[in-house]
C-alpha cells in the first residue's frame, strides 16, 4: 500500500484496513493544518517528500512500533502537496488488545516519524510570503540528529 500520497486522508478507510478481531482498542492520531505558526497567520502549506526513502521509513516504523509495543496493527499515512487549513496531513492508527499499549504506541509512532521521515513543510502565510519550517536533522547529518545511534538509514 502507498503510505505517501497526494490524495486526501480518510480515517474510516484506515480503520477498515486495520480491522483485527484480537483487538479491544484503537487509537488514531491525526495532524491537521493550523492557521497560525509562531505568531504568524497561515493560509495553507505545501508538504514535499523524498518519496523513495519516505515510503521505506514509514513501513519500517510501523513494524518497529508493532514489535516494540506488542500491538497488533500500526498503519501510517502522510499526505504531500498543497493543503488548506483544517486538512489532514498525517494519520497514525494503532490497534491492540488493551488501550494502554495503543496510546503508547501511537505516541511513539508520531514522535519518531517527526525525527526520521524525509518530509518538509512550506508555510504559505496570510501576508503572501512563504517559508520552509526548520526541523530536525536526520541521523547522518553533519550535526547529529536525535537518532545518531544508527537508525533506519544505515543499511
Amino acid at each position: 500500500m502507498q503510505r505517501i500520497t497526494r490524495e486526501p486522508l480518510d480515517v474510516a478507510s484506515l480503520l477498515g484496513d486495520t480491522e483485527n478481531d484480537t483487538c479491544g482498542a484503537f487509537v488514531v492520531f491525526g495532524g491537521t493544518v493550523r492557521n497560525h505558526h509562531q505568531g504568524r497567520g497561515v493560509a495553507g502549506m505545501r508538504y514535499s517528500a523524498y518519496e523513495p526513502m519516505a515510503e521505506r521509513v514509514l513501513e519500517e516504523l510501523e513494524e518497529e512500533t508493532r514489535r516494540r509495543f506488542g500491538v497488533a496493527e500500526c498503519r501510517i499515512v502522510h499526505r504531500i502537496g498543497e493543503l488548506g487549513i483544517g486538512e489532514t496531513s498525517v494519520l497514525v492508527a494503532v490497534r491492540s488488545a488493551h488501550r494502554g499499549d495503543a496510546f503508547s504506541a501511537g505516541q511513539y509512532a508520531i514522535d519518531t516519524l517527526k525525527e526520521r521521515l524525509p518530509v518538509w513543510k512550506e508555510d504559505f502565510y496570510t501576508d503572501g510570503s512563504r517559508g520552509y519550517q526548520d526541523g530536525t536533522p536526520l541521523a547522518t547529518a553533519g550535526v547529529a540528529g536525535p537518532d545518531d545511534g544508527g537508525g533506519h538509514g544505515d543499511r
Binding site: G30, Q38, Y50, M53, H78, D134, T136, T140, G153
Partner: protein, 89 residues
C-alpha cells in the same frame, strides 16, 4: 558527473532541483562531494552541517564512498507530521 538533488529549503537556496558535480576520480566520499558543492554553490554552505544525504532509499554517511551511478540526494532537517513540537500538535 554526479547528479546531486535538492529537497526542501535546499532547492530554494540552490535555485534548482538538481545539478551536476564533476567527479575527478571514482573513489569519492560524500564529504568530498559536499566540499565541491560548497565551491559551486556558496549559499549552501551554512546549511550543509545539518544536511543528511541519501542514495536510493537509504541514508549514507559522510565518510561513505559515493555510488557514481545514482543521484546523491541532499536532505535538510525534516518537518513532517503535524505542526512543530514547540507549539504542540
Amino acid at each position: 558527473m554526479l547528479d546531486v538533488q535538492f529537497y526542501g529549503v535546499l532547492e530554494q537556496v540552490a535555485g534548482t532541483r538538481s545539478l551536476q558535480v564533476e567527479l575527478v576520480d571514482d573513489a569519492v566520499t560524500v564529504d568530498q562531494v559536499l566540499e565541491r558543492l560548497r565551491g559551486q554553490v556558496p549559499a549552501l554552505s551554512e546549511h550543509l552541517p545539518r544536511v543528511a544525504c541519501a542514495q536510493g532509499d537509504a541514508l549514507v554517511r559522510r565518510a561513505d564512498p559515493v555510488d557514481p551511478t545514482r543521484p546523491l540526494v541532499l536532505l535538510p532537517p525534516v518537518s513532517g507530521g503535524a505542526m512543530g513540537t514547540q507549539e504542540g500538535s
